[in-house]
């Protein structure tokens, strides 16, 4: 059995670790709140943009816009997978789950020609050397993710899709469901779902356009793609903080259990040592 001093040291080190995990949990909790607010902040733009699009859709020719083109290879051809992971670890199964989902996607679509877009250091570490062509890597995201980051991620995807280098683009990311639950989402980014023309809008308002409706439509579509990427990035960052919070909470509780167990064993060892000493003294006295 370990000596008393060893056990004391062990307890102290566990306590130190516990303090760190506790602090990390608290930090994650406060970051989570801000991240959640930012996710909600993206909603008005998406709703308003869709609303505007729906009202123009009736007046422009949707069929030949490059971002809407449903090519024959959408479900079979060349595919780009944008994988959003975190830069930092210590967040439970957050990144492992993403990598697993990607693996599943690869198994399900063996016949497809795949390229990867990796966001986050952990994704690069896990998927960078699997032999798939890497279209872009984007790591060390700033603390506050903004439109500039979304643009940087969306741009290569839009480029490759319009050039015909890929036939579809998918996003894989963790969606923030609740503090305990992250949803793994695989969604199609390009081609975009066709814009629905509601009968009401088509017959309703007769707009003036400055410049032309087609140009506004053409300008607005990429913005919507970027907005979708931005939402995915923000969802992922909220989910990351949530996952870290849960993981660190579990770690704090585990270390509490460990300290308890160690203290118990330590006391037992101490007791045994005292008992042994007493026996020695007593038997020594009897021998005289």
């Amino acid at each position: 059995m370990a000596s008393l001093i060893d056990m004391r040291r062990r307890i102290r080190s566990v306590k130190n670790t516990q303090q760190i995990t506790k602090a990390m949990k608290m930090v994650a909790a406060s970051k989570l709140r801000r991240a959640q607010e930012r996710v909600i902040g993206t909603r008005p733009f998406a709703t308003q943009a869709k609303h505007v699009l729906a009202s123009i859709a009736a007046r422009v020719d949707q069929s030949n816009h490059p971002l809407l083109a449903q090519r024959s290879g959408v479900t079979t051809g060349k595919t780009m997978l944008i994988v959003i992971t975190s830069d930092k670890g210590l967040c439970g199964g957050f990144n492992t789950n993403i990598v697993k989902t990607v693996g599943q996607f690869l198994r399900d679509h063996k016949d497809r020609e795949l390229s990867l877009g990796l966001v986050g250091k952990k994704g690069r570490a896990a998927l960078g050397r699997r032999g798939f062509p890497i279209r872009f890597e984007y790591t060390s995201l700033p603390k506050v993710i903004g439109f500039a980051e979304a643009e940087a991620v969306a741009q290569p995807a839009i480029e490759d899709f319009t050039n015909g280098k890929v036939d579809s683009v998918h996003l894989v990311y963790n969606e923030f469901k609740s503090v305990m639950v992250q949803n793994l989402v695989t969604e199609q980014l390009l081609p975009m779902a066709p814009i629905e023309v509601t009968r009401d809008e088509a017959g309703g308002i007769d707009y003036l356009y400055e410049p032309s409706p087609q140009r506004i439509f053409d300008e607005l579509l990429p913005r919507l793609v970027e907005a979708q990427v931005l939402r995915a990035l923000l969802e992922s960052s909220a989910a990351e903080h949530a996952a870290r919070m849960t993981a660190m909470d579990a770690a704090t509780r585990n270390s509490s259990d460990m300290i308890e167990n160690l203290t118990l064993t330590m006391n037992k060892v101490r007791q045994a040592a005292i008992t042994r000493e007493i026996i020695e003294v007593v038997s020594g006295a009897q021998a005289q």
């Binding site: 930012r38 993206t42 505007v52 439109f147 400055e210 506004i216």
Partner: protein, 143 residues
């Protein structure tokens, strides 16, 4: 149909909502020139450029910076979808000044032809910085 007396202004960027308010009048930097909007405006969809916008509520005027995007104008509401936007009070003057200097330096270098760089990007950066400074200055003058 009665002409509405106020406009419901929704001013949003992909990141957040900037203004959500009832206003009496506003002006926007349209791609083909500035335009003023009063309640009862005819439905209009307009592309925006980098520039200054303001809106009036009662006797108070608020200024803002807007860079690229669209505005949907209806008789009783205006929706601005901007790529970048800030309220005058939120503009970081030091950052704008620094950005202006940086862009100017880059353009000066480019004029000499010494470096190969993204001319258009520097030009836009300079435009944004100057506009931000202007907006902030105008907002302070009104006070």
């Amino acid at each position: 149909m009665a002409i509405p007396t106020t406009l419901r202004l929704e001013f949003v960027t992909p990141e957040r909502s900037i203004v959500h308010d009832e206003v009496d009048e506003l002006q926007l930097p349209g791609e083909e020139g500035f335009l003023g909007v009063l309640p009862g405006h005819t439905p209009l969809l307009v592309a925006l450029k980098v520039g200054e916008m303001w809106y009036r509520k009662g006797t108070e005027t608020f200024h803002g910076f807007v860079g690229f995007g669209f505005a949907e104008i209806l008789p009783s509401s205006v929706t601005i979808l901007a790529r970048i936007a800030e309220k005058a009070d939120d503009i970081d003057l030091e950052r704008a000044e620094a950005a202006k200097r940086r862009a100017e330096d880059l353009l000066a270098e480019a004029a000499k032809g010494s470096v190969d760089m993204d001319f258009e990007r520097a030009r836009l950066a300079l435009l944004r910085a100057i506009t931000r400074l202007q907006v902030s200055q105008h907002a302070r003058m009104r006070r």
